[in-house]
């Protein structure tokens, strides 16, 4: 099975406090720690496991620059055979549809049976996979937490509210967006990354993808982010302060009062 996995380099939400940058046009990018989008990492692991089972190839694709390439290389070190970079100044400011359109063009350059994306990324929009499927006119399933089967049709599970799992069969080729927890992504060590450090990663620009400049970037965006802001806070929590011992002591008193100690 030929599998394309779309990945994104994002600020690591576990390592960063995200704040609004000067002028409110972007988040503050100083001192941010970046990583592969968590959902995408599960998608790459799933693709590798499928290929281990039924044969084929995994290609990891990302939009962006040399820094995004590091993320692609890290994912290749997990066991993906190929990487692909989509790089062009004309891609700047693309909205979800723009990103999906660029990925569609890249997908049409290959002969993929299956495309995986993460269920969502740092902007929480959860949109690129579904848009990509619609552009390709392939069937789609979101929030996938189980994949079985091989040629022709896959048997998949989707995660619904309350942890219920919805089972379906879906025809190939298709696009699936992957939910976290579907597998246990393998650890990537320095050694693994070194192994793929010199592997050639092809780069395609707008012209190579057959995309007109201006068709997918900020100027073409249908959904425009005007600003970043911190909403006026409500009352919020009563914040306790003091030494560790004082904090614990205050908390014990409050828990007693509120019936938190049995």
């Amino acid at each position: 099975m030929e599998i394309l996995v779309c990945v994104k380099r994002v600020p690591d939400a576990t390592e960063n406090e995200i704040s609004v940058g000067p002028g409110g046009t972007d988040i503050s990018r100083e001192d941010l720690v970046y990583a592969v989008n968590e959902w995408d990492n599960y998608a790459v692991e799933e693709a590798i496991q499928i290929v281990d089972r039924v044969g084929g190839n995994v290609t990891v694709v990302a939009l962006g620059d040399s820094e995004a390439e590091e993320v692609v290389r890290r994912e290749m070190a997990m066991g993906a055979g190929q990487g692909l970079m989509l790089v062009d100044d004309a891609f700047r400011g693309a909205d979800g549809l723009g990103v999906a359109t660029i990925l569609e063009a890249a997908a049409r350059k290959g002969a993929y049976d299956l495309i995986l994306t993460g269920a969502q990324a740092d902007d929480g929009a959860a949109q690129v996979g579904g848009m990509l499927a619609a552009l390709l006119d392939w069937p789609y399933a979101s929030l996938v937490n189980k994949i079985e089967g091989e040629a022709g049709t896959l048997r998949i599970g989707r995660e619904l509210e309350g942890g219920t799992q919805e089972l379906s069969e879906i025809d190939l080729p298709c696009v699936l967006s992957i939910q976290t927890g579907i597998n246990e992504p393998r650890y990537v060590g320095i050694r693994g990354i070194r192994k793929v450090a010199s592997v050639e990663i092809p780069v395609l620009d707008a012209a190579a993808l057959g995309l007109a400049a201006g068709a997918v970037g900020g100027a073409a965006a249908k959904a425009r982010r005007l600003d970043y802001f911190i909403p006026a806070a409500g009352a919020g929590a009563e914040m306790l302060t003091g030494s560790t011992r004082e904090l614990a002591s205050q908390l014990v008193d409050l828990l007693k009062l509120k019936g938190g100690l049995h």
Partner: protein, 324 residues
């Protein structure tokens, strides 16, 4: 107001889901004075009952009654809506697992802007829609703008709008079932598997000590278990802890886990993404401990502490043991 606004109604056993009246309120906020139409797809008496209830609130409902719509499959609903909706339609969906499945592709097939997971909005100015979204699990918000002259698709977060009234007079139900004939899906529904019950039912516990990603390492979960034992409480958690397989899925609080209604809830190292907070009901006394002072959990907590869990937890456990 010429804009045609539609809302997809999720329903169960003939009753519209809570999202229905929230979408109605959202539609009225976005387009004051509009007459939004409820879209109700399903099969048999259930869809008739749900369409009747939706029509009472909305004034008008379109009913799509077809055997293969008995289960809401986005791969069937998408071509159905593309066929049935008039040009220029603005479609509101709940930001649910169904809305997320249906919405992005629907916007592409209709050729209109997509505004996902909307948490607020102002009234449209002409064709210009301006909505509020959140990014980075709620740490920052954004205004997003789109031109809805040709239509738009929005998904609306649960709780973003206070529900509109359910209506008392019967509304008009239009039978649009003919539009649903001959639909073909390349994804076919097989069945659902219910979540498995665990050794402890956290939905029945009064006091929950809930742990999130901020705990750092698997071995640190023991500190949380010791605290819970000292308190006589049950251990719960947020999603990343289950994804990492550190605790069982039956311990997970949130929209993709369990909905709990304790009296006291300790959120330890939990940032407070809406998917987690959405699973905490009944307004408990909520204590949040997080090293990030900007964590959204502090907005919903009763009491907050900015601290390192590794230092606070052992001290807290010791003091509770002494206090008993």
């Amino acid at each position: 107001m010429a804009t045609k606004v539609f809302a997809l109604i999720a329903h169960n056993a003939g009753q519209p889901d809570d999202s229905a009246l929230e979408l109605l309120a959202g539609a009225r906020t976005l387009f004051p004075g509009c007459a939004p139409v409820a879209l109700v797809a399903g099969s048999g008496p259930d869809v008739a009952a749900a369409a009747g209830a939706a029509a009472a609130a909305f004034g008008e409902a379109w009913s799509f009654d077809q055997a293969q719509l008995a289960y809401p499959n986005a791969e069937l609903l998408r071509p159905l809506l593309v066929k049935a909706l008039p040009p220029g339609a603005v479609v509101l969906l709940p930001h649910s697992t169904l809305g997320m499945d249906l919405g992005p592709g629907l916007s592409v097939k209709l050729g209109v802007p997509y505004l996902p997971d909307v948490v607020g909005c102002q009234a449209s100015e002409g064709d210009t829609l301006t909505v509020v979204r959140q990014e980075y699990t709620g740490q920052v918000s954004t205004h997003v703008q789109a031109q809805a002259g040709q239509g738009a698709v929005l998904t609306v977060r649960s709780g973003a709008f206070a529900p509109a009234g359910a209506g008392s007079a019967p509304g008009r139900v239009l039978d649009k079932s003919a539009e649903a004939e001959g639909l073909q899906a390349r994804r076919r529904f097989l069945g659902v598997v219910a979540a498995q019950a665990g050794d402890v039912d956290i939905t029945r516990e009064d006091v929950l000590v809930s742990v999130g990603r901020g705990i750092g390492e698997q071995e640190n979960v023991a500190l949380v278990e010791e605290l819970a034992e000292a308190m006589g409480a049950a251990v719960a958690c947020s999603r990343p802890i289950v994804d990492a397989k550190w605790l069982d899925k039956s311990r997970q609080v949130g929209t993709s886990g369990l909905t709990v209604k304790p009296k006291v809830y300790l959120a330890l190292g939990i940032s407070g993404a809406f998917q987690h907070v959405g699973g905490i009901k009944g307004s408990p006394f909520l204590v949040a401990v997080n090293k990030n002072p900007k964590a959204p959990i502090f907005q919903v907590a009763s009491v907050g502490i900015v601290a390192d869990l590794m230092e606070l937890l052992p001290e807290l456990t010791t003091q509770i043991q002494k206090a008993k």
